[in-house]
Amino acid sequence: MTALLPGLPPSLPILGGGIALLLLCIAWRRSEARAILIALATLLLAFASLWWPLLPWPGDPTGMLFVPDGWFTYIAALILLSSAATMIMAWRETGTSSDEFYLLLLLGTLGALVMAGSADMVIFFLGLETLSLSLLGLIAWHRTHPTADEAAIKYLILAGLSSAILLFGLALSYAESGSLRFAAPSLDGQEGPALPLAATALVLTGLFFKLSAVPFHTWLPDVMEGAPTPVASFIAVTSKIALFAALARYFAGADLLRPDAAGTELAIVAVLSMFGGNLLALGQSNLKRLLAGSSIAHVGYLLLALLSPGPFGLASAAVYLAAYAAATSGAFAALGGASVPADIAGWRGMFRRRPALALAMAIMLISLAGIPPAIGFFAKTYIVIAGVSARRIVLLVALVASSIIGLYYYLNVVRAMMEPLPEEHRAARGTPANAGLIAILAIVTVLAGLFPETLVRQTHSLLQPTPIMRQASLRPAAPHDILYRE
């Protein structure tokens, strides 16, 4: 059995089982409470299983479909936690017959986990598309919202397009090397590097699309605006974490400091994302779109970490992912819990109406902006450490310049919340679960910012994705190796 399931981390079957159970439950009798309980329990179980793996990880990915190394464990923990946060956000927010919502969320989480841990193109592709298809259902969830369909169709077409491009890239890569391992082609010993580079470019398009890096980002604001708030959070957090993990894994063995096309493209996209995201958010009055822009910019910062190999590169990215996940989830939870239109005007005077909520929102925004004492400050510092350490001067300059733009719009929201409101009316409250979530995230954001040592130590040692050797294909390609011919 173990030979058949190479490297399978136990959290995946747990999730699969949970999905099956939920399916049965839905078939038996619909109940939102039971659905969320099962879903949360599944996530919790999967989370716990990260620390008690059934199968020891040998440390060598050869011949394995999954790489349950430290990087995966960490990312999986983040994915599971942020999924749980999404579920709590969605509690009583998604209307009737919402148990399927949790089913889809679980499916998406499964896809994300698969993607984060995959060592093989097939697996990666399946994870990606599982996530993508469940997202489609989630985005189009609200039948009464006129924008839901629009968001869904946009996502469908663009995701299809990018999937096709990604697939074509994978195919080229396979055609070139004969290996389905999910890793960037190594350029050593090649006569003409054009084909592997072209394949990488196409694959990167697919990854960047899902990561919503500029210029592949255009769908994100629209989709996030059209989707229900928890789903937007899911897109911005869970999906991005998984994709970033996969991207890091893809380039795990590659030397990104070398001025070849892949490194250059990554750097260009990083700079574009930093500026593009921040500038895009600058002009937004809708908070969801603003957060979309912000999340685009954060992808740029993360790419800087990725592009800075060395002792700090991915460790800083890991810390940053955690900070980003906490703050963005928190911001969306606050958005969901505020029960006001998600534009800045709706949030005016929030400090008078819902001081605690406004404070939490302010903490999240401050964290995203990278201002102490929130964790975002430390995380950004850490990324800059990595960048400086790798001497990524241009990228650092871009980070500094675009961060200044970022400060403006984050603080603009804070400012709006502080403005006095002519008429004092109290907005409806969100669910207690959501309020608890917001509180926990706010506290975590501040405490982690004040005492980041634990997080740093967690990420410091673990965290290089294990490189996947390209030549370690399942089937070495040679004529005599063809086992079955007609």
């Binding site: 491009i165 580079l197 196409l202 960047f208 255009t218 604001p221 895009l280 600058l282």
Partner: protein
């Protein structure tokens, strides 16, 4: 004992100033006067006691040194708050406290119905204290405290009646113009401190005397001259003094006639070895003095405001002192400083008494025929005018001016000629004033009478203005050399006297001037006017310096500042912000909502990445 006395002389007025400032608005008029005048009087008494002691038993080093405390002590530079009493500062001390007391006494009468009298006396006593600091300091930097201190007091007092915008403007102008000189002086101090490592006057002069000849003395002397020129209202920084007459008359008497404006003379005299080391600076001092004395006398000839006449006269007289300094006649300069303090304070106070009586009018053409109405004031004014004109034998001004003429003759006969011309003009303008104000038809009926507090100082100063010159006489008349003798440890023996016809010339010229004035402005039936041609107009406006400066410096500066009021750097940062906002709009535009266009971006990005890959 003396070491305690010296700071105490400064401290008395300083304490009074403190009390008066703190109590402003609550203390009635009389106690204010008592505190103000009394403290200075006490200082004068102490100064007298100190002077007596000094003269009786001069300290062996020639000066009494008192170090109060170390002011700044850092690497390579230290300065102390330190006082020294030597003959020069002794003379100055007596003038400042003595004349100062008389003027404050007078002010008690002059200002007694002003609601802000406490503030007035506060500023006045503060001024006396600052002036004493200036005089006593044995360190150039602590001298600078007094130097700027008197400046700020001058500012406060010129603008004392602050509800009138003109007064405020005059005060500001006075301070700023002198501040220009002060800045030059500060540069000089910086240079000296850098080169010599100290600002202690004695040490500094020692270094100048013994040190290698270098750039230091020349530049420093000229920079310090800049400060002196501004403070003493000499060309080209003289424009503030006439406007400064906006202040109350006692202020004009004390600050803008007797003491502060002579600080420049004092400074140069104090640092005379430095200036002697630089012949060019000496020439410059003499020329500045000559030019000022002639220009100012010319302006005074055509003024109609009695205080402005006196102001131009002050400039002119200080020009004499500068001329003397530039000629190397140090004693003459100090002597004239002393006598000028007497007679010019007298003139101002007499003028103040007149102004008070004629309903605060200052135009001499609106007075006329006042001699019968106020004989005492007339007598005092006449005494002052005579001393100013330098009428022979009787007046103090005669002796000091003679000494200056002698010195100028020794330096350069041309200087002498110019000075003589100035003396001629002096006699004309001051007696023009006398004739117009006190003779002829009465245009304004005087009211009230001049009180005792005003009369006593007038009398005292009148006596001093006439008799004060007898402490120093030419050998031709009587070999009295009290002042020269006193100052000789500092300045050396005065130069020998010139031929005796010089004395005759110096005696006859003022008399001729009085005669000319009588011819032109003697009481007549028809109205007496001042000529109204272009030169006269130019002279009346102080030879157009104000207009020139206004056009050259003030206006461009203000205009450019106004243009840049909103700060061009700020616009640049705004432009950056606007760029960012435009970028945001462009990206929003990219977000057109059309899925085809989004797909286009994706495809374009892919194609570009592909092309990158192929090129690599």
């Amino acid at each position: 004992m003396d070491a305690l006395l010296l700071p105490l002389i400064v401290f008395c007025p300083l304490l009074a100033a403190g009390i008066l400032f703190v109590s402003t608005g609550r203390m009635p008029a009389r106690p204010s006067c008592v505190i103000g005048a009394g403290s200075v009087g006490l200082s004068a008494l102490l100064a007298g006691r100190l002077a007596a002691g000094f003269l009786a038993a001069p300290p062996p080093t020639g000066a009494l040194h008192v170090t109060l405390w170390s002011w700044m002590q850092v690497e390579g530079f230290s300065t102390r708050i330190a006082f020294a009493l030597d003959p020069l500062s002794l003379v100055m001390m007596l003038v400042v406290t003595g004349v100062g007391f008389l003027i404050l006494l007078y002010a008690g009468g002059y200002m007694h119905d002003d609601p802000d009298i406490a503030r007035f006396f506060g500023c006045m006593t503060l001024f006396v204290a600052a002036m004493l600091v200036l005089v006593f300091s044995s360190d150039l930097l602590s001298l600078y405290i007094g130097w700027e201190g008197v400046g700020i007091c001058s500012y406060l007092l010129i603008g004392f009646w602050h509800t009138d915008a003109a007064n405020v403007a005059a005060a500001r102008k006075a301070f700023i113009v002198t501040r220009i000189g002060d800045a030059a002086m500060l540069c000089g101090l910086l240079l000296l401190a850098t080169q010599a490592g100290t600002l202690d006057i004695a040490a500094l002069l020692h270094i100048v005397a013994t040190g290698p000849a270098q750039l230091l003395p020349t530049t420093a002397a000229f920079l310090l001259l800049g400060g002196a020129v501004a403070k003493s209202a000499q060309v080209p920084l003289q424009t503030w003094l006439p406007d400064a007459m906006a202040g109350p008359t006692p202020v004009s008497a004390l600050i803008h006639a007797a003491t502060m404006v002579t600080a420049g003379v004092y400074l140069i005299a104090r640092l005379h070895p430095l200036f002697m080391a630089v012949p060019a600076a000496m020439t410059a001092v003499a020329l500045v003095g000559l030019v000022t004395l002639l220009l100012a006398a010319g302006s005074a000839l055509v003024q109609t405001d009695i205080k402005r006449i006196l102001a131009y006269s002050t400039m002119s007289q200080i020009g004499y002192m500068f001329l003397a300094l530039g000629s190397g006649a140090w004693q003459a300069a100090i002597f004239h400083l002393v006598t000028h303090a007497f007679f010019k304070a007298l003139l101002f106070m007499a003028a103040g008494a007149i102004i008070l009586r004629v309903h605060h009018r200052q135009d001499i053409y609106q007075m006329g025929g006042l001699a019968p109405a106020m004989p005492g004031v007339f007598a005092a004014f006449l005494a002052g005018a005579a001393a100013l004109a330098g009428l022979p034998l009787l007046t103090a001004g005669f002796y000091s001016k003679e000494m200056i003429l002698q010195g100028a003759w020794h330096a350069n006969p041309l200087l002498w000629a110019g000075a003589l011309l100035g003396a001629f003009a002096t006699a004309i303008y001051i007696f023009r004033c006398v004739f117009i104000v006190f003779f002829g038809t009465r245009h304004t009926e005087p009211k009230g009478h001049t009180g005792a507090t005003m009369a006593i100082p007038l009398a005292c100063l009148a006596i001093l203005a006439l008799a004060g010159g007898w402490m120093e006489m030419p050998d031709t008349i009587a070999p009295v050399h009290l002042l020269s003798h006193l100052l000789s440890p500092l300045f050396g023996t005065p130069m020998a006297e010139g031929p005796s016809w010089l004395l005759w010339a110096g005696s006859l010229v003022p008399l001729t001037g009085v005669g000319v004035a009588w011819l032109l402005w003697r009481p007549r039936t028809q109205a007496r006017t001042t000529p109204e041609d272009a030169i006269a107009r130019l002279a009346r406006t102080g030879w157009g310096f104000d207009t020139l400066y206004d056009m050259l410096f003030v206006r461009p500066f203000i205009t450019l500042g106004r243009l840049n009021q909103s700060d061009i750097c700020d616009r640049l940062s705004d432009a950056t912000a606007a760029t960012a906002r435009t970028g945001g709009r462009m990206l929003s535009h990219m977000q057109s909502g059309q899925v085809r266009r989004y797909a286009g971006w994706i495809a374009a990005g892919t194609v570009v990445a592909l092309c990158l890959g192929i090129r690599a």
